[in-house]
């Protein structure tokens, strides 16, 4: 319980930190981007609307601390301003349309990556020095070192342009209407395959090699040696004795992994013109759509923090030592 509370409070404080970074950055930067942002709106808005918008973002002539609380109030009451690119659509509507795409893509790909990487990691550690153990880690490391956009561009070029197996861009075919129909779902899946493979290739290596190394360390433990001497069946030894314990450190490395995957997903979405929040953030930056940039960053940060919180809570279910408050993560 103490563990859950400490994780919860870290979550709240880190959300606060993300929010504060969003407030501080535009005020800290040279050339005052805040002015640039409002200059963008100049032609679209009446002076009254302009003042209202500035207040919404906490920009006023008042002292910084007052601005800060105005800004916090605006955030909590969901007044996130209007997008410049999609004027006059509120940024929260733009976000609501793009976030599910990213969460779906990143979430499902990460699940596949974790299960496949961990499973194969168990296997190659068990057959250490075998053919698979000598090749798979190196191949996976190559793709980890390769930039996401490059893997994506190559897949797009060879599989979509040359062979025509997959669509060239977007989240679904323009000929189908978004609905819960079979044709729409199939179209979405077909459009998600290449971006999914790109993210998978970029993130697979960490899970594979992490699990392999944990496994090798665990297999050297005395209790595993004793169990084997006692005559425990190999499959049971591998899965129930070694893998079960080797899997725990994998979960703690999730925090760093999910950040990388989200970074990779931004690049991947841009390559495939995927309608997710990463591509939206990039478009907003090129359009200097500051309200949208801020909202997109906040939502990306919030999603990552939330994912971390969930994994931390899951970890406490899996490792009784944490629940009892014995070990610190």
């Amino acid at each position: 319980m103490k563990y859950v509370l400490s994780r919860l409070s870290f979550f709240i404080v880190s959300v606060w930190a993300a929010v504060t970074i969003n407030f501080v950055l535009p005020r800290m930067m040279p050339g005052n981007p805040a002015d640039a942002m409002f200059a963008k709106f100049q032609n679209n808005l009446t002076p009254q609307a302009m003042t209202a918008l500035k207040l919404e973002f906490g920009f006023s002539n008042q002292p910084l601390i007052v601005q800060y609380f105005d800004y916090l109030k605006g955030l909590i009451t969901l007044h996130w301003g209007l997008s410049f690119t999609y004027y006059p659509t509120p940024t929260k509507t733009v976000i609501a349309h793009s976030l599910p795409w990213t969460i779906g893509l990143v979430g499902i790909t990460t699940l596949i990556s974790v299960f496949l990487g961990t499973g194969l990691g168990i296997l190659i550690a068990w057959r250490r020095g075998g053919a698979l153990d000598n090749t798979l880690p190196i191949v996976s490391l190559f793709f980890q070192a390769a930039p996401y956009m490059w893997t994506g561009l190559l897949l797009l070029y060879f599989l979509s342009f040359k062979l025509g197996w997959f669509p060239l861009a977007h989240g679904y075919a323009l000929s189908v209407q978004p609905s819960w129909s079979i044709s729409f779902i199939l179209s979405v899946l077909k459009h998600a395959i290449l971006p999914g493979i790109t993210i998978f290739l970029g993130s697979f290596s960490g899970w594979l090699i992490g699990m392999r190394n944990n496994m090798i360390l665990t297999l050297g433990e005395d209790y595993v040696v004793f169990a084997e001497a006692k005559g425990v069946r190999p499959s049971r030894l591998m899965l129930m004795y070694a893998a079960r314990n080797a899997i725990l450190p994998q979960i703690t490395s999730f925090a760093i992994a999910i950040g990388n995957v989200v970074s990779g997903s931004i690049l991947t979405e841009v390559v495939f013109s995927y309608p997710g929040i990463g591509a939206q953030l990039q478009a907003a930056v090129l359009q200097q759509d500051y309200p949208l940039i801020q909202a997109a960053f906040l939502m990306i940060a919030l999603s990552v923090l939330l994912a971390n919180l969930l994994v931390d809570l899951l970890y406490s279910r899996l490792d009784p030592r944490v629940r009892a408050g014995g070990a610190t993560v």
Binding site: L141, P147, L153, G220, I256, L267, V271
Partner: protein, 314 residues
Amino acid sequence: MMTHPLEDIHANEVNLPIRRKRFRFFRLLCSDRRSLVGLCLFSLFLLVAVLAPVIAPYNPLSTNFAMNLPPSYAHWFGTTATGQDIFSQFIYGTRTTLTVGMGAGLLATLIGLAFGVTAGYIGGWVDTVLNFVTNIFLVLPSLALLIVIESMVHNTTPWINGLIIGFTGWAWGARVFRAQTMSLRNREFVTAARLSGASTLRVMAAEIIPNMTSVIASNIIFACLGAILAESGLAFLGLESVNSVSWGTMLYWAQAGGALLNGAWYWIVPPGLGIALVGLSLVLMNFSIDQLTNPRLRKQGGKRREQSTARSRN
């Protein structure tokens, strides 16, 4: 300055194993086939970066050539949609990307050391505060943060990008260094140094940091890799001055210049392959560092593995 007798004794004691350790590191780097390949590959790219003006046949930004030429003898990697020589761009791009990546990686490691060692050694509320800041930077999605910063500093050079990447990418190192420092903090030689009157700064710089070289080396490697990927990602998104010549800007222009539509695979392949190979060379070198930090990965002992190991190594 007066030297305390105790200080001399422990200095001898500590320095000796370090020197041996350093030697062991190079021997290990050369004895592991994977690491040797990594070392050679990395040296090759380093050589290309240093000798770029000698190797590159043309000015990378000159637009004097025919557009969209496929690879030929005159243009090994073909030309871009604006008639630039892709091979020359690749060679000069090596220089930019490696310099920025290594610079940012080193900067991130230094900041990480400052945060991690201070937090781990001093402990108390200093640790609480520094560790908290570290954890925040660790969980915030780095590329998204970089994009937001870039959106406010326009048209940055690769060097400025390297600085920004270094200043935002130190958290993982800080966490590892903190843990390492905490395990070293109560060893005899550290206590001896403290009792002999060495200042806190001296204990951290002369006793603790030299005893975690393998962890630092490993961190430099991953920080460099991360910085190279971050810099090229930013450049690809068009957030770096598009007139700079780096592997990331090459990919940006390849996509913007319709390389896919024109079938110009030779424009896309070199920069990404360069990044991937440099990254691979880095992680291959890390294999032997890993074995140094974690001897059990090296030692082939233990059941089961015996049959297969004899032939797998060497």
